[in-house]
Subunit: 476 residues, 2 copies
């Protein structure tokens, strides 16, 4: 698999794709070979950019015949290196970035059929134009592609109410590893006629086939939104307050995000124009949002009642409610600035963990204690989608560590954090996927039975191991 | 596979299970060999009733060694013969009906961990005791088991708001075809660490393994409900009114059920105490329900506003709103009596179809026309979950047909109805599964690529074809 591809097959690929569909020179292919942020880099014999499902099928068929591994790529915004080839140059990259058609809009069925290269922001915009909501919301929504969102089962800030990407797709079109096209583009809310094959491809990070199009669910567009930013004493208060919020707001509850004191201060320091809504500093913060169809007073008074109860029970120390769209955007900006905040705080080691919601306080307490016992001075930078049990727990190195110390110790830091996750029944990748970053770590924690099942599925669909090799699973 | 099982292996099974776990005589095994309603009957060498996951694993391991096919069974309430063996007597039935433990209740995580033999009604009751909702609602909820609900990806009347069973399960424990136990009992709302293996087993009707336990999602218990029964002119009005209801009620909309004139009259005639809410007869009816957390006036007035708009736009001809819990139950009783209503109308041929919601009017018009052209006098009895695009379209035979004519013509009737379904991009089994009833029909409509994919999955997980053979897929 690490042999250079047969030049005759590469020539054939160039021929069938034409100049518009092939990138060849190292300079042209560099943006595709290098991940967002530059962490993952690889080599590729070619970058292929088919403009249609038929072209994808043709490329995959030729690569299958020539036994050339394919690394599928969407918007190249992944954080786990799932879209970068290895360094051997044996693979080609297949980017879906030219597959940009909106194939159908059915407002009565509340569905949208789009090709894999349509960006998430474009999908959101098409939905808005027909007075509907496509709820997936991510930091990279301007450049990530629906194909990548599906391949990684993307999450984000609206999962609490609308679910992960898996819950937002009704049908798929997929080019299989042998180049055949599976047309599963059904727009059905109920279909029990056989195995639900689309589930295989969603979240499999391009290791079982290439998603070329999808039927996506649309939702009624909420007319009213109520947003609060609350100071709280600790993660236990966050979880207790979440319980109150669910009981009072039900399905209206659409976001429940956690931040930690230093991360808020760093956000304010890092991003011009940001300000904390509080004069005082508090240990933890929540951003809570509810939305509903009616534009009446109901939602606002429900949120006020919730905060009053939270204050009375000591779960909330202070809170502001957004009184305008501008104020709401300012509160969200504090949450959205967490990545910049972390860069401002220092270099860190990132984690994307989930545990049962009930185990969040234990996770933070135990991970903090274990890390600080081993590495005094480490700063447990923490934020995330706590309503889903998902935290980005990204310890920042002490200032006195040299640049070499962080990578040298990253593995040990991962192990400390992930041991706590595993002990609490959690996941070492809640929403980013395994990519190449966490494959070995997943092997460490998963049972032999589970790894065998995953390998059986992989071997059944991709017997020659040509689809995104080394991602999700390593060859045995 | 049709050879009689090795008596030595059967003796070994009797031994490891003990008398409480084995049924042997034809009289004792009859209720397990015969489907709900008596339509499907089979033979079984033994009925095995393990009381624990370890016992299931032991049974499956012994059967794998002896190459004895296993037919898994939950509450035996399925409508497609998925839990009945063939007539060869080569198989054993493995019933999970003794696996009745509620293993864990986590109200903070909003999850319940139950064994496969717990009935749906028990799960609903456990949820209610901790002030939560488990939303799955089915006619057979008193006797169907969670294992069967998962294996068939059960639907019902609350799918519009809460999704199918697939959306209600976070984790599974499964005994694989070789007798190993896969522990995927995770209570996580986000987990992208590898393939989402539970999706393989949900909806696969016991053909890939035996689900022994599950982590189920709980929801806040709605405090307020608003219910209306409306007369409408036609299916097009139903779909237009659904659009209004979604826009006005959003996620609060929890049921949107369709009935046809003759079916309502037959329900009233068949079930003592039932009455139509209207003095006049109308061609079609809707039962629409919304529910929310707040007990205030909001929901009722939203429903009134919706009905006023529906009346104004000519979508609604008449309507009643339930003014009490008793009135609400009476309206639901009209919907729940549809099975009895059909029996009262005459013998029918059942279908469980789905199409895109936007295609419902075309489906009814085209299926009615095609059937009546071929079989004048046939009565297109119709009801179902129209909000999900799912109809039970069950034409009732003309009174002059003999008892032999219905089965003789059932295949042709299926083909007429399912051709319309296929042409509209629909499914021939929306919520009942394929079982043995619709396997050949599914083969007829599915593409070669899709059948190959299904067979590849089956072969990967169950290489000897011992799990529920002949269901979902036929051996090639």
């Amino acid at each position: 698999m690490t042999a250079r591809p047969d030049p005759a097959v590469l020539d054939r690929l160039r021929l069938v794709m034409g100049p518009a569909g092939v990138l060849d020179s190292p300079a042209d292919t560099a943006p595709f070979r290098t991940s967002f942020g530059g962490i993952f880099r690889g080599e590729a014999a070619l970058v292929l950019r088919p403009a249609s499902t038929q072209e994808v099928a043709e490329v995959v068929r030729l690569c299958a015949e020539g036994r050339i591994p394919i690394v599928p790529q969407g918007g190249n915004t992944g954080l786990a290196g799932g879209a970068q080839p290895d360094g051997s140059g044996a693979s080609v990259i297949l980017s879906v970035d030219r597959m940009r058609k909106v194939r159908a809009v059915d407002v009565v069925n509340d569905t949208l059929t789009v090709e894999a290269g349509v960006t998430l922001a474009e999908v959101q915009a098409v939905a808005e134009r027909v007075d509907r909501l496509f709820p997936l919301t991510l930091a990279s929504e301007g450049s990530c592609r629906i194909g990548g969102n599906l391949a990684t089962n993307a999450g984000g800030t609206q999962v609490l109410r609308y679910g992960n990407m898996r819950a937002l797709a009704l049908g798929l079109e997929v080019v299989l590893p042998d180049g055949r096209i599976w047309d599963g583009l059904r727009g059905l809310r109920k279909d029990n006629a056989g195995y639900d094959l689309k589930q295989l491809f969603i979240g499999s990070e391009g290791t079982l086939g290439i998603i070329t199009a999808a039927v996506l669910r649309l939702f009624p567009r909420p007319r009213a939104t109520a947003t609060t930013f609350a100071a709280i004493p600790d993660p236990a208060a966050a979880i207790a307050f979440l319980g109150l919020a669910k009981a009072r707001l039900g399905d209206s509850l659409s976001a429940f995000e956690l931040m930690r004191a230093p991360s808020l201060a760093h956000a304010v320091a890092a991003v011009p124009g940001l300000a904390s809504p509080f004069a005082e500093a508090y240990p933890w913060y929540l951003l809570v949002e509810a939305s509903a169809q009616e534009a009446g007073e109901g939602l606002g008074s429900a949120l006020e009642g919730l905060l009053a109860q939270g204050l009375e029970e000591g779960l909330v120390l202070d809170a502001v409610i957004a009184a305008s769209g501008a104020q709401r955007r300012n509160l969200w900006a504090l949450r959205e600035a967490q990545a910049e905040a972390q860069a401002h705080a220092g270099k860190g080691v990132k984690h994307d963990i989930s545990v049962p919601v009930s185990a969040i306080p234990a996770f933070v307490a135990r991970a903090d204690a274990a890390l600080l016992a081993r590495f005094p001075g480490i700063l447990p930078f923490t934020f995330g989608h706590v309503g889903d049990g998902n935290l980005h727990y990204n310890p920042v190195m002490p200032a006195d560590w040299t640049d070499e110390m962080r990578p040298a110790r990253a593995g040990e830091i991962n192990r400390i954090v992930h041991d706590v996750v595993a002990d609490l029944g959690g996941s070492i990748s809640a929403e980013h996927g395994l990519g190449q970053l966490r494959v070995a770590e997943a092997e460490h924690y998963k049972s032999a039975v589970e790894l065998d099942l995953m390998r059986a599925v992989k071997a059944a669909l991709d017997p020659h191991g040509l689809m995104n090799p080394g991602k999700v699973l390593r060859a045995r």
